[in-house]
Amino acid sequence: MLTAVDDAAERLGLSPGLALAQARTMHPGIEALEENAEADAALLKSIADWCLRYTPLVACDTPDGLLLDITGCAHLYGGEDALVADLSGRLERAGLAYRIAIAGTIGTAWAAAHFGKPGSYACGSERQLLSPLPLAALRLDGGTVAALARVGLKHIGDIADLPRAPLTARFGGDLLRQFDRALGSEHEPLNPRLPVAPYVAEQRFPEPIAREEDVLATVARLASRLKIALERRGDGARRIELTLFRTDGALRRIAAGTSRPLRAAEDIRVLFVERLAALADALDPGFGFDMARLSVLVAESAPSEQIGIGGAEDQTELDRLTDRLSARLGVRRVRKLIAPDSHHPELAAAAVPAQVTVADPGWEALRRYRAEAELSPRPLRLLARPEPIEAVAEVPDGPPLRFRWRRALHEVVASDGPERIEGAWWSEHGGPARDYFRVEDKSGLRFWLFRAGLYRDLAQDTAAPSWFLHGMFA
């Protein structure tokens, strides 16, 4: 069955809904392509991205439509007509057929584009525009439209002046809600695809730019504009995104995070120097970027910059270093150590991205605990996952006498332990209790080993408890 036809096919009398076999009988020479909903959705998304240059409020109206809220944006393009001309030009160059309608409400614009005449409709003319259109133009479901048709109600004008309560009772609340929304008596918000940034600055280039230096200079300029807005509200940026719009419509998005709320334009520019350096492929400007937008995606309250006194200045410098390293290498590769409250060795220390704000790293508490509890020493280096080893030990709970690790045999000459650490019994994969031993081998190498499981806990037929190497001491 045909789902869509192009202009030429339309002229031949083919339309969606026709069976393919029938169409082929009528016109043997037609070319039929298989429907690919995924590709269509992807195409729609990429067109939605193009439209971000006009406004950040873009929503996909699947399967084949887009909604843009251009309130207050049109003047940046020299008026609504110029905006429509720009968009139409791009769509045409991409070989797409389109219908564009501008109106004061989503409902009216949708109705005009789908069932009416494309064009621009002033606020206040909704009723006039909608009356002759079929009820399906109100985006009602098929059942409701059919029910309305059965009682002779076919056009929007037919229900416009009918008493409301009986309509709702008979056909459901949807009908009048859609009607009210189309007229503007009820507000219908647009749900944008991407969250709207609290602070945005953008610039268009009559002469498209392509060089990295120019992009960075633009970042600095836009950041200065953002600084004014941020300062006014006492905010700083924690996450910033640069969107570069190519002349052919494609987008490039580059984001950077920070350790503390930033306002200074130079600090922000430096972040993007590193981000651009870190890009695996070049910026790929095509024929150039004709627009750049800098948005603060996440803002946080930031007290005004204080003239540093020693410690505070050092922390600022360290934050700058962290931000540069994170921007270049990746946020997860730059870490700081915290001590979560856990006796389980793997969980007793964690490495979190250094940019993440942590109220209390937990080391003081750990030191106090270790002092009080007189815990045995901990290794200097811990393997991410304990490695299984073959060990020979005295049964039932003696230390290992020798063990093989990574193909090397180690003879144990001294050992300390056991230190029993219960498994994380609350978690499925917590595992059995572990008896940890500090052992030193003949060469003087020192390891932290454990035996998982206790002999007495094992049923008769299960295997012997296993030994693991978890860490190394200096």
Binding site: R333, P379, G444
Partner: protein
């Protein structure tokens, strides 16, 4: 007035590398500090190699103790992914015992040695950093890179350590090169195989928990006699 003039002149002199003394980090062991000319030079690059892969933890411990004694500000530890996967990552609770506060430590994992060297240089140039440890898993790093890092260390006065998993074959341009290994009875051997300021040596050290510093183990056997003052050996 002459004294004042001398002082002004000294202030005007640019630091000329290892000669001038931006400060040293003492090990707390007089025998070694003497050989080093007071201690490990700040504003310089030092290499610490493990005697063998299994001895990397011992070498790490040695590096960390030096870092803890040097660290007035933050320490940055940079390692390649492979190094962390094979030899384990720094473990907070274990670091504390060496006097290195985990709060003042930032760790980095890099995918390539190129990134590691870049990050080391960036960190050295940050004035809030006093020690940078770079853990290189494989391969030799070329002379040019070492020179760059040395220069960055000189300019900032920070201490740079290159931690290697096995003793390198090539000649070194670092200020000092050590080969560290574990020995029985909870001791370490530290062999000084390159020293711009004086003679070489080897010592067996024991970590003293109470004093939180190294002490010479009773059975120490230095390879060379401790240095007498030999100013003509300094590089002009």
């Amino acid at each position: 007035m002459l004294a004042q003039l001398r002082q002004t002149l000294r202030g005007l002199e640019r630091p000329s590398g290892i000669d001038s003394d931006p400060g040293t980090v003492t090990l707390g062991v007089p025998a070694i500090d003497g050989v080093l000319g007071g201690g490990l030079a700040r504003g310089a690059l030092h290499e610490i190699a493990a005697a063998g892969e299994a001895h990397l933890a011992a070498a790490t411990g040695f590096a960390l103790i030096l870092s803890a004694r040097a660290a007035r500000k933050s320490t940055i530890w940079i390692a390649e992914d492979m190094a962390l996967a094979e030899s384990g990552a720094p473990y907070g609770p274990g670091l504390d015992a060496f006097g290195l506060a985990p709060e003042r430590l930032l760790t980095l994992a890099t995918a390539r040695s190129r990134d590691l060297l870049w990050a080391m240089e960036e960190a050295l140039r940050c004035r809030a950093v006093s020690v940078v440890i770079g853990e290189l898993r494989h391969g030799d790093i070329d002379m040019v890179a070492v020179r760059r890092l040395s220069l960055a260390a000189v300019e900032s006065g920070a201490l740079a350590f290159l931690l290697r998993a096995s003793p390198p074959d090539d000649a070194s341009t670092a200020a000092t090169r050590w080969i560290v290994g574990a020995t029985p009875d909870e001791c370490l051997t530290a062999q000084l195989t390159r020293n711009r300021r004086g003679p070489l040596g080897a010592w067996t050290l024991q970590w003293s928990d109470d004093d939180e510093r190294f002490v010479l183990a009773a059975s120490a056997q230095p390879v060379a006699a401790p240095a007498a003052d030999r100013p003509h050996r300094k590089i002009a």
